[in-house]
């Protein structure tokens, strides 16, 4: 069977699975899974750019995703004028002081014509005093902002722009952080990048949880504006009533189906655009160079390629795609909940998607995103049903049975680990292997 027929078959099987869920559970569930599959596919494309093209291990997917969520708040939420009056200007001044400290520190570190030890101490001195200055300016502003109706707002709000704009801003946020991390950790041993990204992603989450003046922290930001119509508005429209009557489903279901389809269409456009761009990049001389660097860094370096520079570039690009997906995720959820970002779900699951799908192949990454997300969601009902079946011989109130049923949900973590290990061992090239060019 030819390669493209094989790929078409795999995607058709995925479609059949989603349709089965639609027919057996509900079409709303199927579309909800589809929307998350689309977002996961964009995340996997981002990771694939880093891993499949360049062999970089990014263990901080969660952080870049959350930065996308932050962008959604900053761009779309209406500004809170009272909070801006209370401490907006001062907060910005404080942040500027912080930025100036960083810039000054880098300048001292790079340019100061004194011996190394002196440079270290001077930079440290500047960093500490600059940090103190920033705190002196920022802290009162933060207190003032957080005191403004803490139950309702207590934060600066955003710029009140259309939320789809945040998809780009999310990419930019992620790219800036990725650049800083890459500057530090790239060019050293390969696992330093993994450890550094693991760290920064945790810190980003702590930051988002604790800086209430910016994100409301664990109080969450609910009701983000939507790029698609609201169900309640649709339910007032006559055409929807006609459509629902024609399809033979309740109007409420029909409205939420339409909303989900709208999201799916938006996400699909982004997915296709990113896929097309990634494929173009992979086939270009740039993609060839990236693969050359991935397969033999020393040889590529000897050919005059700037290995660390290219790595930095590809790392920033991939992280930007992840940030974009993160903003899309917050858009779909309609809320930003920093506590919901868990490394297993947002970092390591995306890795399972990439490896299972086929590292180095964009189509494979998309398929991996679909398949793994589908089973991540469906593993819960399947696992519970399986556990019910396995324990059906035991007494109804047997403690072992109750324990097994209660903890059945955690079997999906085990399953994902097992899937990853088995694929790595027996089919390391994944469902759709990289095309040898």
């Amino acid at each position: 069977m030819s390669r493209s027929a094989n790929n078409a078959l795999l995607f058709a099987a995925m479609a059949v699975l989603l349709m089965l869920v639609g027919a057996m559970q509900s079409w709303n569930v199927a579309l909800a899974i589809l929307n998350m599959c689309l977002i996961s596919a964009i995340m996997t494309l981002g990771v694939n750019i880093q891993w499949g093209y360049a062999g970089l291990f990014n263990a901080g997917v969660m952080g870049f995703t959350a930065l996308g969520g932050l962008a959604a708040i900053v761009v779309s939420v209406a500004p809170v004028p009272a909070a801006w009056d209370a401490g907006g200007a001062r907060a910005i001044l404080g942040l500027l002081a912080g930025l100036a400290t960083i810039a000054g520190g880098i300048w001292l570190w790079k340019k100061l014509p004194v011996p190394r030890t002196a440079r270290i101490w001077l930079t440290a001195l500047l960093a500490v005093s600059g940090y103190g200055l920033m705190r002196l300016i920022l802290d009162p502003a933060v207190d003032a902002i957080e005191a403004v109706e803490p139950a309702m707002t207590g934060f600066l709000g955003g710029f009140g722009l259309p939320i789809m704009f945040s998809w780009i801003v999310g990419g930019v946020f992620a790219a800036i952080v990725a650049w800083a991390i890459g500057k530090v950790a790239l060019g050293l041993r390969s696992d330093y990048l993994a450890i550094a990204t693991l760290g920064i992603s945790e810190i980003i989450i702590y930051f988002l949880k604790n800086e209430d003046w910016l994100t409301r922290g664990v109080k969450n930001v609910n009701g983000l504006p939507r790029p698609v119509p609201y169900e309640i508005d649709l339910q007032g429209a006559l055409w929807l009533h006609d459509l629902a009557a024609w399809a033979g489903i309740p109007v409420v279901d029909a409205s939420s189906l339409i909303v989900k389809l709208n999201y799916a269409a938006l996400f699909l456009v982004v997915l296709i655009a990113i896929f097309w761009l990634s494929e173009r990049a992979l086939k270009s001389p740039w993609g060839r160079m990236m693969r050359a660097i991935r397969d033999n860094e020393i040889a590529a370096g000897a050919m005059g390629k700037n290995v660390t520079g290219r790595h930095l570039q590809v790392f920033v690009l991939g992280s930007a795609v992840i940030g974009l997906a993160g903003a899309m995720l917050a858009t779909l959820d309609g809320q930003f909940t920093p506590a919901s970002y868990q490394p297993l779900r947002f970092t390591f699951l995306v890795w399972v998607m990439v490896i299972v799908g086929g590292s180095g192949n964009n189509l494979g990454s998309i398929l991996g995103g679909f398949v793994i997300w589908f089973f991540w969601i469906e593993a819960e009902p399947i696992g519970l049903a399986l556990m019910n079946f396995l324990t059906s011989g035991m007494a109804l109130d047997s403690p072992l049975r109750l324990h097994l049923l209660e903890n059945a949900a955690h079997t999906r973590l085990m399953t994902m680990g097992l899937v990853l290990l088995l694929v790595l061992r027996f089919s390391p090239r994944g469902l759709i292997p990289e095309v040898k060019r």
Binding site: S190, N210, F348, L413
Partner: protein
């Protein structure tokens, strides 16, 4: 009398720092050091960063907790010491079994294929995933209490009565147990690595694999012993951390970062560095997130106390401390304090 007041204020400030920085720092540093030793051993011999080490620690702690419950139900205990110490050997055996089994089933294949380090890294993520699911499946995701015996070696009130100071200095039993076991374990480990034939062969293998093979050292045996040591260290570190801070399955994934930071700060692959790194990270974390308000109050003349907490960084950001130290080390001296890479 004024001079006397100054002295007492100074002693009070010392007691305050001792209670909130010194004692917890020594205990936490020992836990990190034991964790980092496990990471460093795997790195030195198998040459990869084991992301699953946090979950391995959690697994060891879990088995120990389960055995502790059995012992507690039978009324077997150690008096003032926590029963978990009695259960720990079984936890260690189980974790050693787990490590050896993962090596046989998972890692050995890649060793034979001579896979690149980043492949091992992804494989260890698979192990991490599987273990975290297994642990939550067996013991559930919730907090577990298993500490028993006497809670304190020295209570804050006893210290106040003894010294007449206003500030108390408390030492928890778990902290004392942590430090003493860490000293014993580290002494044993160094004796093993430096004095025994097997230990020397491990160091040789870590230093120069090809040369070690030529001199007739059996690599599979070295790997096996490495996993045995790693498993034992992980179970001890996980249990001690759980005794001290309470056992919650999800915290162990968060421990991976400070542990890696400790190993890298000290020099990856260097056991001495892992210990030093553990204490560097632990004390930096506590010193940076400690609120100096009352210390400043004691050290300044009169009854003046600052309005703010005088805290460099909120405790929520303690993870950021290990990260920044890691970044600084990567920028200034990527090989760590004791230039690492060999055992």
């Amino acid at each position: 009398m004024a001079g006397n007041k100054v002295l007492i204020d100074f002693l009070n400030a010392l007691a305050l720092i001792g209670n909130f920085v010194l004692v917890p720092g020594i205990a936490y540093g020992s836990q990190l050091a034991l964790g980092a030793l496990g990471v460093t051993m795997v790195y030195a011999v198998l040459r990869f960063s084991n992301f699953a080490h946090g979950e391995t620690m959690s697994f060891g702690a879990m088995v120990t907790i389960l055995v502790t419950w059995v012992l507690q139900a039978r009324g077997i205990g150690l008096g003032p010491l926590p029963t978990a110490l009695l259960a720990l050997p079984i936890g260690m055996l189980a974790t050693i079994g787990l490590c050896v089994a993962t090596d046989r089933l998972v890692y050995r294949y890649y060793r034979e294929k001579k896979a690149v380090p980043v492949t091992y890294l992804i494989v260890s993520v698979g192990v991490l995933f599987f273990l975290s699911g297994l642990i939550r499946f067996i013991i559930g995701p919730k907090d577990q209490v298993f500490a028993d015996g006497q809670r304190f070696i020295m209570k804050a009130r006893a210290f106040k009565e003894m010294t007449g100071l206003d500030q108390g200095l408390a030492i928890k039993t778990s902290q004392g147990v942590t430090v003493i076991s860490a000293i014993v374990i580290v002494a044993l480990l160094f004796w093993f690595l430096n004095r025994t034939r097997t230990g020397k062969s491990m160091r040789a293998y870590s230093d120069n694999e090809d040369l070690a093979l030529l001199s007739g050292i059996n690599p599979e045996r070295v790997v096996l012993i490495t996993w045995i040591i790693t498993g034992a260290l992980a179970a001890i570190a996980g249990t001690l951390y759980g005794l001290d801070k309470g056992y919650k399955p999800f915290t162990y994934l968060g421990l991976v970062l400070p542990i890696f930071a400790s190993a890298i700060v000290g020099g990856v692959g260097n056991p001495l560095g892992a210990i030093a790194g553990g204490f560097v990270i632990a004390f930096s974390e506590l010193l940076v997130t400690f609120a100096y308000k009352r210390v400043v109050g004691y050290l300044t003349p009169g009854d003046w106390v600052p309005d703010g907490l005088v805290q460099l960084l909120s405790t929520d950001y303690k993870l950021a401390v290990s990260f920044f130290i890691l970044v600084i080390v990567l920028l200034i001296k990527p090989t760590g304090i004791f230039s690492g890479k060999t055992l």
